[in-house]
């Protein structure tokens, strides 16, 4: 509720329903009417003088009674008003009172949290209304510049100081909140740069309109916090900085913070485990929500969920996709004030089979001469070739074996995982293709052997080259033909996910595996040792590269350097785990956060197609084609500013359609705000007014500056009135004196400070005392006689 008195003053209430308490103000009158006091009776000889005094002073007494009743009623009214959290908007008045030209610089927060809606109004809309009202209340000669805190796009909206109010209002009207996180520091620095631009005479006033989200304005990172502090302090030093907090009371919020497939590669007809993570940001009572699973926009599951405040819950859903192709999974949480983070999308391509490309260096008369033989057999122990050099060995995996020389001919679009088995060396083009393949989410497993050209591998795939290798290859460690001196595996507690299948199995075969030779590898900083030899040298190294994974086995994946493939039962499951782990983020490139680009390599022949956004807008890929750092062509779109499923359709020759899931960054989902004092001491360290209260009416700009809050003022008035009431009920004149003292103190204190206020109060008290003494009727004394008084 708002009481708006033109552009000068607006009174609002944070909890208007508490104004019902104003009915309490009728209590004194009701008590007076219904429960008249039973007076005690007493004979009195001088009753005639009482009657005369009553007759002469009845009007005055009635007036005093009315005044006292008004004071008492006002006290109750003020209590009700104070409970309703009154807030006074004087922002316009503040501006109107100053005739100096003002160069306004507006900074409006447009991040995801500003989309939060309370009682039908978004934080962003409240903030925009504040700025609109500021514009409307401005004077001729005032100018305006506008910046927006957002993720993508430049922060500066109006760079040149604009003096035409309709233009500024129109620009404000066009603004909409984004689904992004913000770049606060960059925006503040841009504002600082604008402030350094000369604008003529007048003063600069920076209005920062934000919800003061804690995660944004008091970040955990001390470096970021320091940069924010310095930027705000610099702005404060160059302008009059006013912060409008449109966040309002702390709002609890639930969000779907994660959605992923636990099955590395989804295979048609096979169960796929999907996992959603739901968090409740905030405090208070647990939230009851409904969670819905949608597959390809079709509801497949709905269940209730209780979210504990501050807690996170994971939900699993297993689904079998009937057919291969592009699929879209969405988890929907029943709504709250911020519905945009209650949805999460997952673009999930489903394959008929998992495609594994085996690359070896040898062929021979016997099948097991091939360096890929044991891996192939492990992946498909009993399968038959369905085509030359290819065998379908299970319902899930299709392996294709090629010689290392043919790798250059393969475009690596089909396989999900590539296994290099003792490939002597790779040329730059092959390395480039492999790097692009892995960066796009593909898996790469590297097995070594006697054919390896260590120097070439380190140069082309090491840190100086494509940086694919998890470690630098070193010298050969050999057991000199003696099994006694051979290396054995040290699982180190099976801590790595690769070894999780062996955990708890005493006779898993790993400990009995004998390795005669291996290349000593020096792990890179980004790598992790999954399995080591008892000598301490790494046996299996892993690293993440782009969206994909690279796994390096420092011994051979055939029987030349180790007995592992032929004598150990652990080899087949380990090969499966290697492929599974390497492809575990196969489709990570298909799912991004808002603002992150969609990229896809395309062939030189691909020239047409469209990118379809969730809102139905289309972008021709001719506008999105560019070259990557390696010189290849790619589709690159930064227009992922809206959450949802984007569909990239490439026309001939590839004629494919791919889905990309874009989700909001849930770091904006925690709506906890930074309080004014905390902001002041923890971040700003400056004394800027912070307008912290708001309400959901048309005029949301409300005044509650820390140190001068309306609530405290009301409390002070209440205490003063209570004192006046107590004094007035005792004696009317002292009550009036007290009221006068309080008024004089407040008015003088307001204008000239506390000392002046105290002096004014004492002056009123002294004047009243003198007046009372002068008018005192005290000539009679008990001993006075006619002679004495003559």
């Amino acid at each position: 509720m708002t009481i708006d008195t033109g552009s000068l003053l607006a009174l609002g209430f944070g909890s208007p329903w508490l104004l019902l308490g104003a009915a309490l103000a009728a209590i004194p009158a009701i008590l007076h009417l219904l429960f008249r006091r039973e007076h005690r009776a007493e004979p009195f000889a001088a009753n005639r003088f009482l009657a005369e005094a009553t007759r002469k002073h009845s009007r005055r007494l009635r007036f005093q009674h009315w005044v006292l009743l008004i004071v008492r009623t006002t006290i109750l009214l003020l209590v009700a008003i104070a409970l309703a959290r009154p807030v006074l908007d004087i922002s316009d008045a503040d501006i109107s009172n100053d005739r100096t030209n003002v160069h306004h610089l507006f900074i409006l927060d447009a991040t995801l949290s500003m989309r939060h809606s309370d009682r039908g109004q978004r934080r962003f809309d409240r903030g925009r209304t504040i700025l609109q009202r500021t514009v409307e209340a401005s004077h001729d000669g005032d100018t305006f510049r506008l910046l927006v805190i957002r993720g993508a796009g430049p922060p500066v909206v109006i760079a040149q100081a604009a003096g035409r109010r309709p233009d500024v209002l129109a620009e404000l009207d066009r603004l909409e909140p984004t689904w992004e996180t913000g770049r606060e520091v960059e925006t503040l620095q841009a504002a600082l740069a604008l402030l350094n631009t000369p604008t003529g005479s007048g003063r600069n006033r920076v209005s920062l309109v934000t919800d003061l989200q804690r995660s944004t304005w008091t970040p955990v990172d001390p470096g970021l916090r320091d940069r924010l502090r310095r930027a705000l302090s610099s702005i404060r030093a160059r302008s009059e900085l006013v912060i409008y907090d449109v966040g309002g009371p702390a709002a609890s919020n639930a969000a779907v913070v994660g959605l992923a497939s636990e099955t590395p590669v989804a295979i048609a007809g096979e169960p796929v485990t999907l996992r959603a993570t739901v968090s409740h940001f905030g405090t208070g009572d647990p939230l009851q929500r409904q969670v819905e699973w949608h597959v390809d926009d079709r509801l497949v599951s709905r269940r209730g969920l209780v979210l504990v405040a501050g807690g996170t819950t994971t939900l699993d859903w297993t689904h079998r996709f009937a057919r291969a192709g592009e699929h879209h999974i969405e988890v929907r949480l029943s709504g709250d004030g911020l519905p945009d983070d209650d949805h999460r999308h997952l673009a999930l391509p489903v394959r008929d089979r998992l495609q594994v490309l085996l690359v070896g260096n040898r062929t021979g008369s016997r099948p097991d001469d091939a360096s890929t033989f044991y891996v192939d057999a492990a992946l498909d122990p009993g399968g038959l070739s369905s085509e030359p050099n290819s065998r379908a060995h299970s319902s899930q995996i299709v392996t294709t074996s090629i010689h290392g020389r043919r790798l250059v001919d393969n475009d690596l679009e089909r396989p999900d995982c590539v296994v290099l088995c003792d490939v002597p060396r790779l040329d730059r083009l092959e390395v480039s293709r492999l790097a692009r393949f892995v960066a796009g989410g593909g898996g790469l497993v590297i097995g070594l052997g006697s054919s390896i050209d260590t120097e070439a591998w380190n140069r082309l795939l090491g840190e100086q080259g494509a940086n694919l290798l998890p470690g630098r290859l070193g010298n050969l460690v050999a057991a000199d033909g003696s099994t006694q001196a051979a290396a054995v595996f040290d699982p180190a507690g099976y801590a790595h996910p690769l070894l999780s299948v062996f955990r708890g199995l005493d006779d898993n075969g790993l400990a009995t595996t004998v390795t005669l030779k291996y290349l000593r590898a020096q792990p890179h900083q980004a790598s992790r040792v999954a399995l080591a030899f008892d000598s301490g040298d790494p046996a299996i190294l892993c690293r993440r590269f782009g969206h994909g994974h690279v796994v390096l086995v420092t011994t051979s994946l055939d029987a030349r350097w180790t007995t592992w493939p032929v004598l150990s039962t652990s080899f087949p499951p380990m090969v499966h785990e290697l492929v599974r782990f390497a492809t575990s983020s196969r489709w990570a490139a298909r799912n991004h956060l808002v603002g992150q680009p969609i990229t896809r390599p395309v062939g030189s022949s691909t020239t047409t197609g469209i990118l379809l956004a969730p809102d139905g807008s289309q972008l021709p890929i001719q506008d999105l084609l560019s070259k990557n750092s390696a010189g290849g062509r790619r589709v690159l779109s930064n227009q992922t500013l809206m959450p949802g499923i984007y569909r990239l359709s490439l026309e001939r020759p590839s004629a494919t359609t791919e889905s990309y899931g874009i989700n909001v960054d849930t770091s904006e989902s925690d709506l906890a705000a930074t309080g004014g004092p905390t902001l002041r001491t923890g971040l700003l360290g400056i004394d800027s007014p912070i307008y912290t209260r708001w309400h959901n009416a048309d005029a949301p700009v409300l005044f509650d500056q820390p140190g001068r809050p309306l609530g405290r003022i009301l409390l002070g008035v209440l205490l003063g009135l209570l004192l006046v009431e107590a004094t007035m009920a005792w004696r009317f004149l002292p009550g009036v004196t007290t009221l006068g003292m309080l008024l004089a103190t407040v008015i003088a204190g307001w204008w000239a400070g506390a000392m002046a206020g105290a002096a004014a109060g004492l002056a009123v008290a002294a004047a009243t005392a003198l007046w009372t003494r002068r008018n005192r009727y005290g000539r009679h004394r008990w001993w006075s006689t006619a002679g004495d008084t003559a």
Partner: protein, 317 residues
């Protein structure tokens, strides 16, 4: 009287002696009651008489008229002026004092802060003055007033008369309205010789009527003194809580918020006292306040000393 077996009378007799206490007597022992104007008494006394006589105190000359006693011709004056003048001398006599005691209902009032009612205070004051006057061989009488003249005890100079006066005062019970004005007028017609009239009353009555009655007394040559007896609560009005004040002489009850009305009441009461004081002064009467919470040993000497300091006040023009 000694054979009276009535218990009430016994109590009254016992209380009669208690109206005077030794402290008050010792305080008044060095004082005397001074008349303010010449009076006539039945015997020679210490007070000036309206009659000219043959005492040693020369008063004035007056021209001889036939029939005058030639013994009093001032021959020295005849030698100087060749005219006959007679020498006249002041006559000294005793006086009669009437104690007028208001026994109306309002005189029975006693507040919480007072040690006795106004009537009791007035009784003790009257007894003390009677004792003082009788000690000077002057005559003292008593009349009570309660709406009209009540009991009248004729004046006497006998010291034993004090006991009769005290008993009469104790026998008077407070009742009815004051009716002071009519009573004073009635008294004025009854007193044939000028006398000292001392009124003990709160004067809570029609002030114009009361003043008219007092004026009658003064006009007939009486030396009138008004000792207004009030209760401390009537002057201070110390009440705090809302109270229904009940009228004692037929006045309407007043429901009052004392804290709101106290100052106005005090103003009214003080105006009343001022009015009485002013009227008494204009009629050349003494007026003094006797608060019932102030010991008579303090208030009566002040009254008497004031009369001694201004003995000529009230002299006939």
């Amino acid at each position: 009287m000694t054979g009276d077996l009535n218990p009430a009378t016994q109590v009254a007799r016992t209380s009669a002696t208690s109206l005077l206490d030794s402290n008050l007597q010792s305080r008044l022992a060095g004082l005397s009651f001074q008349t303010r104007r010449p009076l006539e008494g039945p015997v020679t006394g210490r007070h000036r008489s309206r009659q000219r006589g043959f005492s040693a105190e020369f008063a004035e000359h007056r021209e001889y008229v036939p029939g005058d006693d030639v013994r009093y011709v001032d021959w020295k004056a005849y030698g100087r002026s060749d005219r006959y003048y007679l020498k006249e001398f002041e006559d000294e006599t005793n006086f009669t004092c009437w104690l007028v005691l208001d026994t109306s209902e309002s005189m029975s009032y006693r507040s919480g802060t007072a040690t006795e009612s106004k009537l009791d205070h007035a009784r003790r004051a009257a007894a003390a003055l009677a004792w003082l006057i009788l000690r000077g061989a002057d005559a003292v009488g008593l009349v009570t007033i309660a709406g009209k003249l009540g009991r009248l005890v004729p004046p006497s100079t006998q010291p034993s008369h004090l006991d009769q006066l005290n008993r009469a005062m104790l026998d008077a019970t407070p009742a009815g309205p004051s009716g002071l004005g009519a009573a004073f007028r009635d008294l004025a017609t009854r007193l044939t010789r000028p006398a000292v009239v001392i009124c003990f009353s709160d004067l809570f009555d029609d002030l114009n009527e009361t003043a008219a009655g007092l004026e009658q007394l003064a006009w007939r040559g009486h030396d009138v003194a008004v000792l207004q007896v009030i209760d401390p609560a009537e002057e201070d009005f110390p009440f705090e809580e809302p109270t229904r004040f009940l009228g004692m002489e037929g006045e309407a009850d007043q429901v009052v918020e004392p804290r709101a009305l106290a100052e106005a009441y005090r103003v009214e009461f003080r105006r009343f006292l001022d009015d009485i004081s002013s009227r008494c002064r204009s009629m050349r009467m003494d007026h003094a306040l006797l608060r019932s919470d102030v010991p008579l040993a303090t208030s009566l000497p002040r009254f008497l000393e004031a009369r001694l300091r201004h003995p000529a006040r009230g002299a006939a023009p």
